[in-house]
Point group: C2
């Protein structure tokens, strides 16, 4: 047993420090697809003081630490590297307070997102963060990665929902601002530094979220349009007509619908083929459901929308969402695939789709490629799948997609983060002075480079 593990055991006790075969397999890998790697030890703190003691000891020993939450990240941020000690927040769980007057919720960082959503709902409010992994991902991980998801259009990314944080720094110092106020300009808002820095600057241990009023009901439609400019027209018309009520505006291009209704086995929603399908949700207002149906008739009459279906029941709604969530099933029928999570400025989106449609089949005629995602947020997910994908093909496909992103001034990560997997490509979205500034920040907060080393930078 290493010196640092002995010191950790002495300070925290065997209940909180695991080694060897006592480390569960779940802590060997996140959802990034990297080869599972057991950490040197697994720390299971129960309190912020435990985290502080652990980081203090690791700091003294120059011991690298990887922080773990729900292990749902796709970029390798929580995936152990050989020799690292894993610090899992899985036992620091629980909603500590809902302050209904202030509209805030305070929770420990290891609390699963779904638990937070449920607590907010029980208080008659709602949490603005939602994503597919809600049952497993933790609020600490959501904040560390500035998670996006399905409601960004209305409630913003994780950053916008955070009012206060408690963070343990690399050397074990605890910094706390459990602020519940919408406005607080008393000095630097240092919490912003830790949101989206993927655990490389500190460990989030406690959070205060601002909650939102719950919509009175949700109206859902599936619309077909002829290309992205028409989709933008519908988006802007929705924003004007239903200000503050547009919750979801997801796009699924033709190739995506072909996979969902071909190997995916879902029924074709419309009689004809269309370039782009939109999944739209609007909060119910005083104007009742007729206003939404009336709007859809109008955009159909105007020619902006080629066809539309309005959900008449929860079953319809589930049917519409099944298209959007079909990528969770890709593992069953698309052998080897690469998933991308990129942002493209809205004005350049048509060029991005055209370039994908041209360059992927040109190089790999047998590849399947689809594009879909949170198009109102400028965020599309691209999946490219191919039989017999070796490492060289993998890198070539990454090259083609990231070239398009670079040409159009996009971002190589819209919401999943950089982690380990996208680190080699960070220079595409960031200039030298930006990377130097990030390094300055990292050096100031973690001078020994012990927190999530090799992630992001």
């Amino acid at each position: 047993m290493s010196d640092v593990t002995s010191a950790l055991l002495a300070a925290l006790g065997p209940d909180r420090v695991r080694v060897g075969s006592d480390i569960p397999v779940r802590n060997h890998a996140d959802a990034s697809g990297l080869t599972p790697t057991p950490p040197q030890a697994l720390l299971l703190p129960r309190t912020t003081d435990d985290v502080a003691a652990a980081l203090r000891i690791c700091h003294e020993h120059g011991q690298p630490v990887v922080t773990q939450g729900g292990m749902t990240g796709l970029a390798g941020g929580a995936h152990p590297q050989t020799g690292e000690i894993a610090l899992s927040l899985e036992r620091m769980t629980g909603v500590e307070e809902i302050d209904e007057a202030s509209g805030t919720l305070t929770a420990l960082a290891g609390t699963p997102l779904a638990v937070i959503q449920k607590a907010a709902e029980e208080a008659g409010l709602m949490c603005g963060i939602d994503l597919g992994a809600r049952g497993s991902c933790t609020i600490g991980g959501n904040i560390a990665t500035n998670a996006g998801g399905n409601q960004v259009l209305r409630y913003g990314m994780a950053r916008r929902n955070v009012l206060g944080l408690e963070v343990v720094l690399a050397d074990g110092r605890v910094v706390r601002s459990l602020n519940k106020m919408l406005k607080n300009n008393a000095g630097y808002d240092w919490t912003q530094l830790f949101i989206g820095s993927e655990g490389t600057l500190g460990v989030v241990t406690r959070v205060v979220l601002g909650l939102h009023p719950r919509p009175q009901g949700i109206q859902t439609a599936l619309c077909a349009v002829n290309g992205f400019p028409a989709a933008l027209k519908v988006l802007r018309a929705l924003e004007r007509r239903f200000p503050g009520r547009l919750l979801v505006f997801e796009g699924m291009w033709r190739e995506f619908m072909d996979v969902a209704t071909g190997p995916g086995g879902l029924a074709r929603p419309f009689a004809a083929d269309h370039d782009l399908c939109l999944l739209i949700e609007v909060a119910m207002g005083e104007d009742g459901p007729d206003a939404f149906a009336g709007f859809l008739s109008e955009v159909y009459e105007s020619g902006a929308v080629e066809d539309a279906l309005v959900a008449q029941s929860e079953a319809d709604r589930a049917k519409f969402w099944a298209y959007r969530e079909s990528p969770y099933e890709y593992g069953r029928y698309l052998p080897k695939l690469i998933g991308f999570d990129v942002s493209i400025p809205l004005a350049r989106m048509p060029e991005a789709i055209e370039a994908l449609r041209q360059r992927i089949p040109e190089r790999w005629p047998d590849a399947v490629h689809v594009a879909f995602g949170h198009i109102a947020d400028s965020n599309i997910h691209v999946t490219v799948a191919r039989q017999g994908m070796d490492a060289a093909t993998y890198r070539s496909i990454e090259g083609v997609v990231y070239d398009i992103v670079a040409e159009l001034g996009g971002s190589i990560s819209a919401e999943h983060g950089i982690g380990r997997n996208k680190r080699p490509y960070l220079h595409i979205s960031r200039t030298e002075p930006e990377l130097a500034l990030m390094a300055t920040i990292k050096q100031a907060l973690d001078p020994r480079g012990l927190l999530n080393p090799g992630r992001v930078l």
Copy 2:
């Protein structure tokens, strides 16, 4: 002439470097009330390269620099101290681009907020930032101070409206991320560091703002309620009934209305006296104006609201706003005053008002004290005025108000910032570890302490 001024003159030329009586009086003082002080020199850059050259030279000479925008700040952030060189962005003005598809606006930092608002409107969109000083304040200053204002409830503070920044660091390096995308998790969002740091970490030279759809119309009401809990009830009911459409929710307590309708000379809005008046604005929706009037009838019937007036014209609306804006006239009839800009968690707001009403008259029976402001944002402004206010009384009154803030877990600055004036009180809202972390950030980015020294920290 000092070495540094000579070097600046050589690099930038006499058009961009002013000394002595060539420095206009406007650059001697901001709106903080501090004694006007001419800077050692005034720099008037026209480009980012000019700013970079100026800061590089000042850095080489160890020369402190104060950055200036519209000079409307109340906390002394832009107010020169003896020996400082002032860097005014007043010539770096202009909206460079409106990208309607992406819904973004790019402007130079010295552009007045009103110019940006007008440009956005002409493109059929709107800017989410609005405050009383709109005609003079600059977008760079708004971002450097994370400005609040009248629309925070709906559109957030300045931070939430910023998508991209160009910043010149203390040593003259230019860092640029003119991001137009709602989502960009490619590495640290370093722009967050500069928003709200009051020019102490870098000089903002260019900004990208996210714009919003324009409301189709605005409905305004003035309501009387019996205390803060009733106001909160009305607020939550409005949020539920008009999701995303509540634009303004301002509170004015009895003492405030007494001053507005007494020495302020405005007509009394209601026959009876009420504890708290609310100014409410809701964006017009598909449901038409009757929905808003109907809502007000309901809250009146329920007893939550004691009286209400709905604006029937722009003239009515202006009349209602005149109460809220009456503090701009305090100079005429309240001799010596101190203005506070504090946040109090909503759950503790009644205690704050009660404490003010008890402790101010107890110590200073002849003092006038009023409370008003953006109550939905947890932000109240407090003004205490008194004949014969000497420095000792001034400090005592500050002590009483900040004691209340400290007891209730509030913030000494909701939206105006810390600047020089509130620096001695920062410890009330921030713990030692937080102050140490802020100092670490400052040290990393401005190791020689040359940017806005003595502000914030």
